[in-house]
Amino acid sequence: MASYETHDYDVLIIGAGGAGLRAAIEAAAGDLKVGLVCKSLLGKAHTVMAEGGVAAALANVDERDSWRVHFADTMRGGQYLSNARMAELHAKESPDRVRELEAWGALFDRTQEGGILQRNFGGHQYPRLAHVGDRTGLEMIRALQDHGIHQGIEVHMENTVVSLLKTGERVSGAFGYEREKGRFKVFSANAVVLATGGVGKAYKITSNSWEYTGDGHSLAYHAGAELIDMEFVQFHPTGMVWPPSVRGILVTEGVRGEGGILTNSEGKRFMFDDIPELYVNQTADSPEEGWRYTQGDREARRPPELLTRDHVARCIVREVQEGRGSPHGGVFLDIAWIKEKISNAPEHIRRKLPSMYHQFKELADIDITQEPMEVGPTTHYIMGGIRVDADSQMTAVPGLFAAGECAAGLHGANRLGGNSLSDLLVFGKRAGEYAAQFAEENEAVPLDTAEIDAIAAHTLKPFENPADDGSGEKMGPYDIQAQLQEKMQELVGIARSQESLTQALEEIQNLREQAENVHAIGNREYNSGWHTALDLDCLITISESIALAALERRASIGAHSRDDHPEKEEPGAGKYNTIVNKAPDGTMEIRRQPVDELRADLQEIIDEIG
């Protein structure tokens, strides 16, 4: 029998970024016992990386804004594949969620009137992003953390969950290990909330950290939940490209929101060349109009640099492919040029974009107040994820909830910048609230100890697998991870085809076999090699689901581009979501589900606003 310590909770939250913390705070509002498991130290989760802001129709800067416009913007940005009820709840509730952060100590930048300041961002019709310079995510996570630690939540830092536990159809807890000594922990819980973030580590060039291995997606999938729209992976248009070691690190869209422009090697603002039909009426005709928009002129329309991320990323790839890229394979992002327009430009840039200034100064020897940056697309976010009920965030597995990036529905085929921070607040709260309700209404179920022993044995398998298979070329955990990242980048990246995706599925299958036999050296104590070996299962599962869904969608829409199917919709197929689940025989199945018809009142908003 495996040895492990047991912790009993009413509600267990897995993941302590914005969504997990917000869910934990909500679940702990009554007198329930709440446990919070995080893979890193508290307050280090990926939310700290969010820079530009949190989208909420506060209408502090432009009183024409409202939840209806935010709803319409989100639906348009998602190419109308979003779950409309989620988009509605999100647009309606995000202002309260932002205001509440201020009551917990967050300090957003201010308007002249002393309210919360809002900035422009791609795809948002009005200045909508509440922000703190370019470190909004840090402010949010710190406010949630500093409030959360006084709510009686038990926090398990540096713990990784490797499997959910079920008793019958219901989720009954989770099994994991603590990093420090590698000891096992079993968490029993009446309800479990997954808030584990994304999958960026499946790709070679990414803005995501080591933690982003699709744990929640994979845990939910294996527990019987469904994954939807996994083909929609957001490649953020502006990651750093030089020097090589920083390739992929995010350059906030806020640079463009503040007036930054994209140019190619010929010095041309290429974004004016290709403006999608959905956005023609909302886009500036001239650089002059675009500049006025970024400076708050309410009559002006947005510059094409602030079109949606999927489109901007594709335009950058086109420039590079057609030989008009920058020296290191990107394009130029220039904010220094605004010195032509304002007198104290360098100081202004340092104040508005302090962490970008430091990032480039310290990592690339570039002074962004004087010279352009080199940027190119980087894997940033996954719109697809665990399918949840729009109101409660419960998955197909009773008692299992999901929120934040690992859940799906809000963003459709493409997420607007700023909508993830508001997503995790709105749906983090809802998941916590409904998980607490579920925990109160349902009796605890006993854990299945036989299942626990089997999982424990599987978790230790990397130590028992032979170090050498006789070939002399057996791959270690880091090698397998690196190969998977190479293949996903090459075959399931921005441009995909039936051929590349079929090949990807074969490669993934091959790597799965390698991963099952992977060997970890050393012992259980803070052993990164062992941890990487264990993360491989999640990475491989979600990579397969991305490739499979991408193969299924034979069209190019939002963040998903098929070279062999450039049209936006497959003839006669209508609008649909792809749904992946684990078949009874253990293989991965995929099907399509037509998008529900919009509720009449929501359809009216779309008809009226766009």
Binding site: V48, E102, L138, I149, V246, Y526
Partner: protein, 246 residues
């Protein structure tokens, strides 16, 4: 750029030593890249904490050639590669393994501090009005990424081990961000004087020098807090006033 040698602290609380690793280095690399390469190619089980790799999360704190730094923001260009680059864990905290230390004390300290307590909202929608110029200095404190390098370098913790009597620079910055917050109503001065041990700080400014966020910890946070403590507890006129107003 060729090869370089890294002298990395390996081991746990039972015993540890420096181990030399040679690895390929290339343009633009930071120390964390080299450590990762060594981990992937030569030492799979090496323990290192990191997340964002962009100076925003404060996870990869270490001592590089004796200097407390973030590994992700320390470029090899700025180091001499003619000699081995020494990488060791923060010394003010107990070692867990290799480059990872037990920093949980910091989290316990924060939990004990009085939380943010706002005055009633200014507006009916539950919001407050604040001028940007009144919050600029607090936003400086809130830039803190909790890397704990300031704690690592503070001699009160590092040399005198006064973790039970002194909360360290990080939490003076935190206290300052609350005490100076325009809508906070709590008073933390008594704790700062007594249990938090602000008097131990003799303003050598070591913390300010190592802060990767360039927060002017000593001048903007600690000294003003010391002044407030003096005003409240040691001002003779106020003291007299307190005696008579009892």
């Amino acid at each position: 750029m060729g090869k370089a040698t890294f002298r990395i602290w390996r081991g746990n609380a039972d015993g540890a030593e420096f181990v030399n690793y040679d690895t390929e280095v290339s343009e633009g690399m930071v120390v964390l890249d080299a450590v990762h390469r060594i981990q992937a190619e030569q030492a799979n089980d090496m323990a290192v904490r990191w997340n964002c790799k962009a100076g925003k999360c404060g996870s990869c704190s270490a001592e590089i050639n004796g200097q407390p730094k973030l590994m992700c923001m320390t470029r090899l260009n700025d180091l001499s590669l003619d000699e081995p680059v020494t990488v060791e864990p923060m010394r003010a905290f107990p070692l867990i393994k290799d480059l990872v230390t037990d920093v949980s004390w910091n989290f316990r300290v924060k939990e004990k501090m009085k939380p943010f307590t706002p005055r009633p909202p200014d507006a009916e929608d539950g919001t407050w009005r604040m001028e940007q110029e009144d919050i600029d200095h607090i936003q400086e404190f809130r830039k803190c990424i909790e890397c704990f390098l300031c704690q690592d370098v503070c001699h009160v913790l590092r040399e005198h081990d006064l973790h039970d009597e002194f909360i360290g620079p990080r939490f003076f910055v935190y206290a300052a961000s609350l005490e100076m917050h325009p809508i906070d109503t709590e008073n933390r001065l008594e704790e700062l004087k007594d249990s938090d041990g602000i008097g131990y700080c003799n303003i050598t400014k070591c913390c300010t020098k190592v802060c990767p966020e360039h927060i002017t910890i000593t001048d903007n946070a600690i000294i003003p807090l010391k002044e407030r403590v003096v005003d409240q507890f040691y001002d003779p006129i106020k003291k007299l006033f307190r005696v008579f107003s009892r």
